[in-house]
C-alpha cells in the first residue's frame, strides 16, 4: 500500500511535463511569432547600444593631443603566459638605481620580492641597505635602523609637498600600482620612458619641463631618465635604453598585478575543470532525454462494434 501511494505521488503529470520540457529541447523547432519579434527586438537593442558605446569610445580616443602608445609584444601577453622573472629582477635594479631617486613605491615591501625576483637572503640584504625610521624607543625618541623584510620601500620625499617643492611643483607619482593606474598600462610606461624628444615648432615649454608626446599635454616634469649604459645589470644583460625601459615596465607590471602568474595557473585549472564538466553535462542531457526522444505514443480508437 505504502509503495502504491508513494509511486502514485511520484508519478508526474505527463502532459504538463512534456510542454515544459519542450522549451529545453535542442531539436529543431519552429519559433512562434511572438518569440521571433522578441528575439529581433533584443538583437536590435543590444546591437544598437554596442555600436553607440563603440562610437563614443572611439571619438574619445581620437580627441586630445597625445600619441597613443603602440602595443609591444610583451612575453607575458597571452592567456597562459607568466611574467618574465629575470626581467622583473633587472627592472628592480633599474627602479632602485634610477626611478627611486624621485618616485616612491610605498605599498611594496621587501618581503614581496622573495620567490619573485630575489631569494630570502638577498631580499634581507636589500632591506638592510635602506635606513628606516622607527620608534619611539623607551626614551620616547625616534631612531633610524637598517630595514627588515617587513619594511616597505623607502620614499625619497617625506610627503607630497616636499616632493612638489623639489620638482618644480610636479609630483612624481607613487609607482606601486602605476601600470594599472595609467591607460595603456605597461605599453604606456615603455612608450613614455623611450619617447622623449625635442619639442616641435610652436610648443613652448616652461622651465623644468620636457617634451614627451605620450604624456597628456606633451609637457612633462620628468626629464629623460634612461640612457644607454645608464647602469650596469648584475646579470650582464646589455643595458640599452630600451632594455632598461622594458625591464622596469615589467617590474612595475608585477608590482601592480603581483597575482598575474597565479591568475594564469587558475585559468588553466578552471578551463580544464569546466571542459570536463561541459562534456559531462552534454552526456547527462543526452542520457536523460533518450527515453523522451525515442518514445512513441500510439492511439488505438475503440471500434464501435466492441
Amino acid at each position: 500500500m505504502a509503495l502504491r501511494i508513494t509511486s502514485s505521488l511520484l508519478k508526474s503529470a505527463n502532459g504538463q511535463t512534456l510542454q515544459q520540457l519542450n522549451k529545453f529541447s535542442t531539436s529543431a523547432k519552429a519559433w512562434s511569432r511572438g518569440q521571433k519579434t522578441l528575439a529581433m527586438l533584443t538583437g536590435i537593442t543590444v546591437g544598437g547600444a554596442s555600436a553607440l558605446l563603440f562610437a563614443l569610445e572611439s571619438s574619445v580616443r581620437a580627441s586630445g593631443g597625445e600619441v597613443h602608445p603602440p602595443e609591444q609584444p610583451w612575453s607575458h601577453n597571452g592567456i597562459i603566459q607568466s611574467l618574465d622573472h629575470a626581467s622583473i629582477r633587472r627592472g628592480y635594479e633599474v627602479y632602485k638605481q634610477v626611478c627611486a631617486a624621485c618616485h616612491s613605491m610605498k605599498y611594496i615591501a621587501y618581503r614581496n620580492l622573495i620567490g619573485v625576483s630575489h631569494t630570502e637572503a638577498e631580499a634581507k640584504a636589500e632591506a638592510e641597505e635602506a635606513m628606516v625610521k622607527d620608534g619611539p624607543n623607551d626614551l620616547g625618541e625616534y631612531f633610524m635602523r637598517p630595514g627588515k623584510l617587513s619594511d616597505y620601500f623607502p620614499s625619497p620625499y617625506p610627503n607630497e609637498e616636499a616632493a612638489r617643492a623639489a620638482n618644480n611643483g610636479a609630483y612624481p607619482p607613487d609607482l606601486s600600482w602605476i601600470v594599472s593606474a595609467r591607460k595603456g598600462g605597461e605599453d604606456y610606461i615603455f612608450a613614455l620612458l623611450t619617447g622623449y624628444h625635442d619639442p616641435p615648432a610652436g610648443i613652448v615649454l616652461r622651465e623644468g619641463q620636457y617634451y614627451n608626446p605620450y604624456f597628456p599635454g606633451g609637457a612633462i616634469g620628468m626629464a629623460q631618465a634612461l640612457y644607454n649604459e645608464a647602469l650596469e645589470y648584475s646579470d650582464g644583460t646589455p643595458a640599452t635604453a630600451s632594455q632598461l625601459a622594458k625591464d622596469v615596465s615589467v617590474f612595475l607590471k608585477w608590482a601592480s598585478e603581483p597575482e598575474w602568474d597565479e591568475r594564469k595557473r587558475m585559468f588553466i585549472k578552471a578551463m580544464g575543470m569546466l571542459s570536463i564538466l561541459i562534456g559531462l553535462t552534454y552526456y547527462i542531457k543526452r542520457h536523460k532525454w533518450s527515453s523522451l526522444k525515442s518514445r512513441k505514443i500510439s492511439y488505438h480508437p475503440r471500434s464501435k462494434s466492441e
Binding site: 500500500m1 603566459q81 585549472k269
Partner: protein, 82 residues
C-alpha cells in the same frame, strides 16, 4: 496486494545486480564499489584525492612548459647560496 508488494520488492532487488552488458572487470567494480552507498561514497572520496592530485600536477606542468625559462624556479639557481 501483498503479492504486488513482493513483486515490486523483487524488482528492486534485481536492480542491484549489475547490468547484463557489463564486462567482467566492470562487473567486479560494480559489485565492489558502486553497489552499496557506503562503498560508493568511500570510492568517490578516494578517487577525488587521486584525481585532484593528477589534475593539479598536470595543470602546473602545462604552465611550466608554456613558460619555460621565465619563472622564478628557472632562474633561482643562479642566486641561491649554499
Amino acid at each position: 496486494m501483498l503479492k504486488l508488494h513482493r513483486e515490486e520488492a523483487n524488482n528492486l532487488n534485481k536492480l542491484e545486480a549489475p547490468p547484463e552488458n557489463f564486462s567482467t572487470a566492470m562487473r567486479a567494480l560494480y559489485n565492489l564499489v558502486f553497489k552499496r552507498t557506503s562503498t560508493y561514497a568511500v570510492g568517490i572520496m578516494a578517487s577525488v584525492f587521486f584525481f585532484e592530485r593528477a589534475f593539479d600536477v598536470g595543470a602546473e606542468s602545462l604552465f611550466e612548459y608554456a613558460n619555460k625559462g621565465k619563472l622564478w624556479k628557472d632562474i633561482k639557481d643562479k642566486y641561491e647560496q649554499e
